[in-house]
Every structure is written in structure tokens, then in C-alpha cells.
């Protein structure tokens, strides 16, 4: 009698999650330094925002990589639901890693938060997209956000948003990857 092979998703999701989590963090931190070292132009589309959007676009492929690694390990037979779970877990690990590294980074560069805050506020001050009367409130909100970088609420919110966005997006990409790269097992028919 052949032993039943237990197919664990953790190798694939762990590897894809860690790799993409690191990549997303790297893109985000590069974007932040671009904002810090650029002259303020008044354009609210700063390097930080652009980097997070690019990071997210790249991060979506984490679910695909998770499914690919799983297929490499166990072969192409997988259900669509398995692809979705692999994508979801990859997204959650990715969110965890990128948020954790974002929290660690200011410990290496002590002036990071202050420099980023100064650059963001300078951009809002020069912006012509916001009515003058509302600028002060936005500057106050930005200041409060940066000052609360290490508050429990801010940390929890950061993790939650990462889990929701990366988790759901990678769930969808994992699902699509399972459909196009995997093979439906006989049992599902």
C-alpha cells in the first residue's frame, strides 16, 4: 500500500511570502528616500505613494509564485480552492514581513520618520490641488500620522490594511494561477 502524501502549502507560501514581502518593503523604502531627497514640487504623487502602488502591483504576483512553487513540489494537480488558499497565505505572510521590516527600518535610520514627515509636509504646503483653507488640517493630519508611527493603533491599522489588500489580491492571483497553471484533480469532476 502506498503511503498517502501529505501536501503542505507552507514551503511554497512561506518562500513566496518572504521573497515578495522583502521586495515590497524594498520598493517602499526606496520610494520614501526618493521623496526625502527630492525637492518639494507640490505634487501629492510623491515617491512614497508611487512606490507603494508599484510595490502592490508587483506584490500581486506573490500568489502566482506561491502556486508555481507548490506545483514544482507536488505536481500540477490542484483544486482552484487550494490556489486561493496558497495565494491568501502568501499575501498574509507578505504583509507581515513588509510591515515588520517597515517598523524595523527607523531603528537603523533614526532620522527617517522626521525626514519623511518634513518632505511630505513641504509637498502639501506647495500643493495647488488643495484649497488653502484645508491645507493646515492636512498638514496636522500628516504630522499626527508620522508622530504616531509606533502607536499601537497605527501598527495594528498598518498590519490590517496589509493583510486585507495583499491577502485578497494574492488570493485572486493564486486562484487564477491555479486555473491556468494547475490541472484539475479527478476527484473534483
Amino acid at each position: 500500500m502506498e503511503p498517502v502524501q501529505h501536501k503542505s502549502i507552507w514551503n511554497a507560501t512561506g518562500m513566496a511570502g518572504v521573497v515578495f514581502g522583502f521586495v515590497v518593503f524594498l520598493i517602499s523604502i526606496i520610494g520614501s528616500y526618493v521623496t526625502i531627497h527630492s525637492e518639494p514640487t507640490g505634487n501629492l504623487l510623491s515617491g512614497t505613494i508611487l512606490a507603494s502602488v508599484i510595490g502592490c502591483l508587483i506584490g500581486v504576483f506573490g500568489g502566482v509564485m506561491g502556486v508555481k512553487l507548490y506545483i514544482r513540489e507536488y505536481g500540477p494537480e490542484m483544486k482552484i480552492g487550494q490556489g486561493a488558499v496558497i495565494g491568501l497565505m502568501t499575501g498574509l505572510i507578505m504583509g507581515l514581513i513588509s510591515q515588520f521590516l517597515s517598523l524595523l527600518w527607523p531603528l537603523f535610520d533614526g532620522a527617517f520618520i522626521e525626514n519623511l514627515q518634513t518632505a511630505m509636509i513641504a509637498n502639501i504646503e506647495l500643493s495647488d490641488q488643495i484649497p488653502a483653507a484645508q491645507k493646515e488640517d492636512m498638514i496636522d493630519a500628516t504630522y499626527a500620522q508620522m508622530q504616531n508611527y509606533y502607536s499601537a493603533g497605527s501598527i495594528i491599522q498598518g498590519f490590517l490594511i496589509s493583510f486585507v489588500t495583499y491577502g485578497l489580491l494574492n488570493m485572486l492571483s493564486g486562484l487564477l494561477a491555479a486555473k491556468f497553471m494547475g490541472k484539475t484533480p479527478q476527484a473534483e469532476l
Binding site: S52, A141, V164, L176
Partner: protein, 183 residues
């Protein structure tokens, strides 16, 4: 009398006979998530009345990692911007619309899968081309065009998701593969 002895391909026969259905993931996760994101995208004008309130809102924070949310590239309702840019507004709205409507016609969707793939590739190319051109200031498209390009991509993605979530239904034990036979 000579009988033909063709081997019966049980797997192919089973595939032919199984009724396609939408995977439960569609009803449990994909549709509710899409409804939530569309609501979150459109909801700031319901809850806030000024731009600073919007700036500090959970809706803006939620989409901060997936959209640039520039105030000058966002649709306004009652002087309050939506949570995402005009292109993303189109994406989330059309995605929900596509999922909601095409879920009733999924048997048709699987018949036109090739067209859906082509539509998705074309929509992605348009989205990337227009997005990059706007970003690098090659040209600037008005909000309405951005909304349309986003809506096209959202609809194509919705159709692709519907196609991906159609699975042959599991056969119950005891079901006769070739129908009932009475003597």
C-alpha cells in the same frame, strides 16, 4: 455479429456530463470582497464633508497601498473626493458589475473564453499605456477617459474571474454516468 470494442474514456465522458457551477469561493469571498471594495471606494462623501476628513479616513488608508489617490485625479461628490482615483473607481465599479451580472451567464462566459482572454490582454495594455503616459506626462487624459479605461479593465477582470471560478460539479455517488436506463 460483430460488436465494436471501443475503449470508453470514462474521464472525458464524466467531463462532458458534469454540470458546470460557480465555485463556492465566488459567493463566499470574491463577490462580497468586490462589494466591500466598491462600497469603500464610493463611500467617503457619505461619511465626510471636507477634504481633511477624507485625508484622515479609513477608506483612504485602506486603498493607500493600491492607488495614488491624487485629489486632482479623483472624482468628487459634494466637494469630497472618492477614496480612489477615477481609474480605480472605474475598476472597482465595473468589477462588481461584471461579477454580479456575468454570474447569471457563466455558461455563456465559458463558451467565449478566448474572447475574454483577448479582452483582458487588450484592457491591460490600454491601462498600462494610458497610465504610464499620464505618469510620465506624455499626455494627460481627462477623468472620464481614465474612468472608462479602468471600467474596461475591471469588466475584463470580472469576466476572467467568473471563467476561472466555473468548475464541473462533483458527481454524487450512485449517479448514472449515462442517464437512467429502463427495461
Amino acid at each position: 455479429m460483430k460488436h465494436s470494442q471501443e475503449p470508453i474514456d470514462m474521464h472525458a465522458a464524466r467531463q462532458r456530463s458534469a454540470n458546470p457551477v460557480l465555485h463556492p469561493l465566488f459567493y463566499l469571498v470574491v463577490l462580497p470582497a468586490s462589494l466591500f471594495f466598491a462600497f469603500a471606494a464610493w463611500s467617503p462623501p457619505l461619511f465626510y464633508s471636507t477634504v481633511p476628513e477624507w485625508f484622515d479616513s479609513w477608506q483612504k488608508a485602506l486603498f493607500s497601498q493600491v492607488c495614488h489617490q491624487q485629489p486632482d485625479r479623483t472624482l468628487y461628490i459634494r466637494d469630497v473626493p472618492l477614496a480612489v482615483c477615477s481609474r480605480c473607481t472605474g475598476i472597482y465599479t465595473a468589477l462588481l458589475a461584471a461579477l454580479a451580472t456575468l454570474s447569471f451567464f457563466f455558461t455563456f462566459v465559458i463558451k467565449v473564453k478566448l474572447y475574454i482572454m483577448r479582452m483582458f490582454v487588450m484592457a491591460s495594455l490600454i491601462l498600462v499605456l494610458d497610465g504610464a503616459s499620464n505618469l510620465f506626462q506624455v499626455w494627460q487624459t481627462p477623468d472620464f477617459i481614465r474612468l472608462l479605461t479602468g471600467a474596461f479593465w475591471g469588466f475584463a477582470t470580472g469576466a476572467l474571474l467568473i471563467f476561472s471560478l466555473v468548475v464541473p460539479r462533483k458527481r454524487k455517488r450512485g449517479d448514472n454516468l449515462y442517464g437512467t436506463c429502463s427495461t
